[in-house]
Point group: D2
């Protein structure tokens, strides 16, 4: 198959910039795709850093102004890999320039912003996707398949947590390189937008939409030195966020995220309890899916730990990798997303989550923060 | 040490009747106690069943009217091991007759009832305890010790769940022998009073009182055949109950219980996250305590699975049992409670949870049910 | 059912004396049996200790000379709960007096002694059993059932380990109360007789006989102070023992035991790999059976952790205990053995392992020690 | 840092060819290296397949005769990624042409061949390394560091297993593409050379050399259809291999490998028991290291599951990847090996295992196969 170049312009060079870049490099080595990503340009305000990143990853050129990048004729797709408060502006400009957009999550700072982004890409008819990468961990994709096959029956419960412990230290500053996630102005929210956004995206994908929610948040450390101003300032983000609610299918939601759960690095877990089958997954052992199958013979019923590493169509994506028993890592989720995105371009069936899909998560985020603020139940908005 | 007989009158003969009886038998075989329980009388309305139980366990006599039992002169302590709606009436009569009382949990149908029971035992000055047995699982008691030693530092989170799956079947009847827990009139509530009561008792013991709560409940199966009336009737209990809230120490609560979590038999779990240490426990592997110690050397920090089976004072109660590595079962929690109760009689320092202690749990139960009903935050009452 | 007294005379009062006594007490409380054990007499050389034990457990009388005990007319069964070097002499005398015998494991110091014991009980036609208690852990009994149902297909591998760490300390003495297991004269061997004996008994029960073995042993600490002589003496026991071999069914054996595996308290594990199913168990989580079922649907094949706690006939013995999810402990294995032994008396179908069954384990023990000594393969003897 | 091209000529394109290619691509994206691999040429007998591979991975040219490849002037290093029976011939020719050599494991068919290879590379003074990749799984490298720091104290035991189940099917052919590992002529041995070779390399690296061994092997399926001849032929490889022995440091070895352990895909596990610390690892959860630290406080001693994912120097290699909690996969071990190999070129301190290092593993392999054949203990040869 003759491959066609697909020219990427990346804006941002942090942890996610590296994860995306690796995915662009790996996608065609492991998947048979019509399009082959070309690392055309990297954009960052700090030219030296941008150049270093370009050298390391093989980007062919460097920009320091994202407006110039989104206007370049030799770019097919813009990867928006910057703090949340810049997503909308860049995406709107990229859409106006007819670029495909791969945008980091959460889509936007709020529903209002997100809605404009959806309108922009739909009006411009440009391919668009949001980096809710966990959908494409093979074990998570397998969960989706089992649910689509109807194996679970009626669903009663969906639980998700995303627990970290890296901000317990009260002398950790807020804001600036590597720490913008603690800065309300840059991030828009705390663990809700950063971590629960992932949990909500997966939940909607697996279990459908949420109708109503009730939420509480907490900010344990009230003030932190701000890296950009040098002053001790009030912390505006939520350090912890818990909500419950009801899904449209009648099942109950229990979600929690925090950065104060000592001992957990990035423990994203979910469990879904159906009448006939329950499923569980956690990011710390991302290559396993926990399955309880009630239809198993009674005396040997139990939770199965499925090592999702068979190089067969049984295990999503895994026929492209190694042999049974050999696990892939966190990075594979991005490689799979690039592969699916490029496949979607070729087939005309866009891979999700599109901006429109991601707007639904934004509605839940707005609803839980409103609920926490007003201390009451909130109905999740729809578009 | 010359032992003194301690004459037990047991009311009820179900699953809990057996667990308590085994504890009375085992306590002096494993612990050095001043008092030795004597199985004096068993009481049940069905005389044949009472006799069969007496034969099996060696109870010396049988009563069919609990009023007669609580008046017998040859009884020192009454074990109230009947459905929740009978606790108060029996306990009041037993106190009036000067009997010590060991009452099944939850203490009462509600705070109002529970308050009368506390007043009665305190006025009568009779020893009293409630069977919140999980405090005395060695791994749970070890958690208590670590907290008391201050090892955890500031507490941020306390999470507990009690998940079961035995009522998913919609043709399971409600009410009657073995199923009174599904009958609102007998049980007073569903999973909240039956299961969350345990979680709340442990939480208060380990982490102090709860100030405010917000709760939701659900009844998945709306109607069931009632075993006593033979008619299909509305189900009044909560099948699932989720609440969050704040402890007095500033930590956040996330509690959930359900009988619709396919794959979980009796999965009572808790986790407490402190600044310096986190602890986790689950009833399915009750002999283990999970410990994360932040003061461990960085490169080998991780969750430790402590097999709480050393026959040394290091591991609570375990010096009375076997050798390291050999686990005790669920039943030990009752044996330990009897041993501690009898030790408390001898020392004059009553073992908890007393009726007064258990009333605090009742306040939380009332608060969460009120919150679920009114869909708003509720402040937990105090006595 | 009218119960008949079954009068027990126990010789020994150590850790095992307590485990057996608890079993005699519990058996009829949980199982419906024709015979009810009566704790008739306890025998120990130290009268004060014997009396204290009798007081604690309710033995009706005390003996200080086991010869007197085995001659008493009011004793139905003798429980031989003393160091290994005394088993044969006591058992022969007990058989000569027509007593049933419940003998601690291993049966004897060697095959020659064991053979005499088998002859004695078979000649005297007295009921006899050896306390290889692990057969009656419910998860292990469930493994037996699955194998008997043919679920595993052709067997390829059987692996067992029994790992401890309590003798690493080189200043631990050998010999005397609580430490006779380190004394060659009293124990006959080290970890082979003490720990591997259990592994071998289970293996033969589950997988049939062993044909040939090759073994190595090691004594890490060469000299220890002897508690009885007060002198530093050469250590004669094996501290570690590894062997491989072939079962009669063609499967391969890999067995290992040690008391120098830091971190393991009593980690008895086995795994059996069949064509269609594999099973695994470990003593540290004794209430679980690990099951891999190849016939499961490919995409959700995985190791199942079966929580063997259903109070139904599905899970052996568990219908006599609590409700699903509530685990029994180590002690249950002895209670089950007493129940089965008494049932065997009533039914005329003796429960195993009889002395004759246990002699087969003794043959393997002799073979592995001979192999280690001569550094060559050895064929396992048969009787 | 100006990078220098390092031109790779790869021979072979199977599963390992892909793993190595990915490593060459990733190394400089994640590590700061002086040399940057260039995928210069791929060699395979089947030109179409070689071209397809070159297209997929970006190799610049194709060869169908490895002799031509090893003579090309524009190649710096030859990657020998072909069945075992071709390693020696190719390596000798590559060395004669002054090429660096990266050779798949095991080094050779036997010690005699391996010795010639060592002589050739040492005489030619060409950089050389063998792809025993598991040394560079971060958790395994961390184990090495802990041992080097002396944390374990005296070592008593080292156990390793490599269990698979993919050849149970008796109608699986032997020989040919993807199945040469079942063909004695191509592989030289069965699970010993394929799987135990890994276990032995890691063991020698972590625990030093083996002195003496005793081994058994088994071939469960005696005949299989041969893919190349089309005939049913005797199977010559070992399907299972178990050995024990003594390390030079006095510790005991217990090793086992099989392809008939139903339920295990690629379960490489090792455990090392030291006086003060024990370590365990398994390939199915390769990002975790199990650590038991005896110096922990008694009451909270337990096995720690260390999630080796901190992006700090604490966790080897992980500062180059993501953030804490995000695991790398199997493939990282190759990327790390390439990075270390290239670093070794730059620093003049060659990364191991060199051919000479790998010869020691070959000695153990020869010894265990000789022991199995002759059914006796064998002393491991030294060079």
């Amino acid at each position: 198959m003759a491959k066609q170049d697909y020219r990427i312009g990346m804006i941002g060079y942090g942890f996610m910039g590296r994860a995306h870049s690796n995915a662009y490099v790996q996608a065609n080595n492991f998947f048979d795709l019509k399009y082959r990503p070309v690392l055309k340009a990297i954009c960052a305000r700090d030219e030296a850093k941008a150049k270093a990143f370009a050298d390391q990853w093989g980007y062919q050129s460097v920009e320091t102004d994202w407006r110039k990048l989104v206007e370049r004729k030799d770019i097919d797709a813009v990867d928006v890999c910057v703090p949340n408060n810049l997503h909308a502006e860049i995406a709107l400009a990229a859409a106006a320039n007819g670029k495909a957009i791969l945008c980091e999550k959460p889509l936007a700072m709020n529903v209002a912003e997100g809605r404009k982004m959806v309108e922009a890409v739909e009006k411009a008819k440009v391919p668009n996707i949001v980096w809710y990468n966990y959908r494409r961990i093979p074990a998570v994709t397998l969960a989706k398949r089992l649910i689509e096959e109807g194996k679970l029956g009626k669903i009663f419960h969906y639980r998700a947590k995303f627990l970290q412990d890296w901000t317990i230290k009260s002398d950790l500053p807020q804001g600036g390189q590597g720490l913008w996630r603690l800065d309300l102005a840059a991030a828009g929210a705390g663990v809700s937008g950063d971590l629960l956004a992932h949990c909500i995206d997966t939940a909607i994908w697996l279990n459908g939409g949420l109708d109503t929610v009730s939420c509480m948040t907490e900010t344990f450390v009230k003030e932190r030195m701000h890296n950009l101003t040098g002053k001790v300032e009030k912390v505006g983000i939520d350090d912890a966020c818990i909500f419950f609610g009801r899904f449209a299918n009648g099942s109950l939601a229990n979600f929690e995220s925090t950065r104060y759960a000592r001992g957990h690095k990035a423990l994203y877990t979910f469990e879904i309890n159906g009448e006939n089958m329950s499923l569980g997954w956690d990011l710390h052992d991302l290559h396993r899916l926990q399955v309880f199958d009630y239809r198993d013979e009674g005396k040997i019923r139990g939770w199965k730990s499925v090592h999702v590493t068979d190089n067969s169509p049984d295990h999503p994506y895994m026929d492209k990798w190694w042999v049974p028993g050999l696990a892939v890592g966190y990075d594979c989720s991005f490689t799979h997303q690039v592969a699916d995105f490029l496949d979607g371009l070729a087939s005309g069936k866009p891979a999700g989550p599109t901006f429109r899909d991601a707007l639904e998560t934004q509605h839940v985020l707005d609803a839980i923060l409103a609920s926490a603020k007003d201390q009451k139940w909130v109905t999740v908005g729809k578009d």
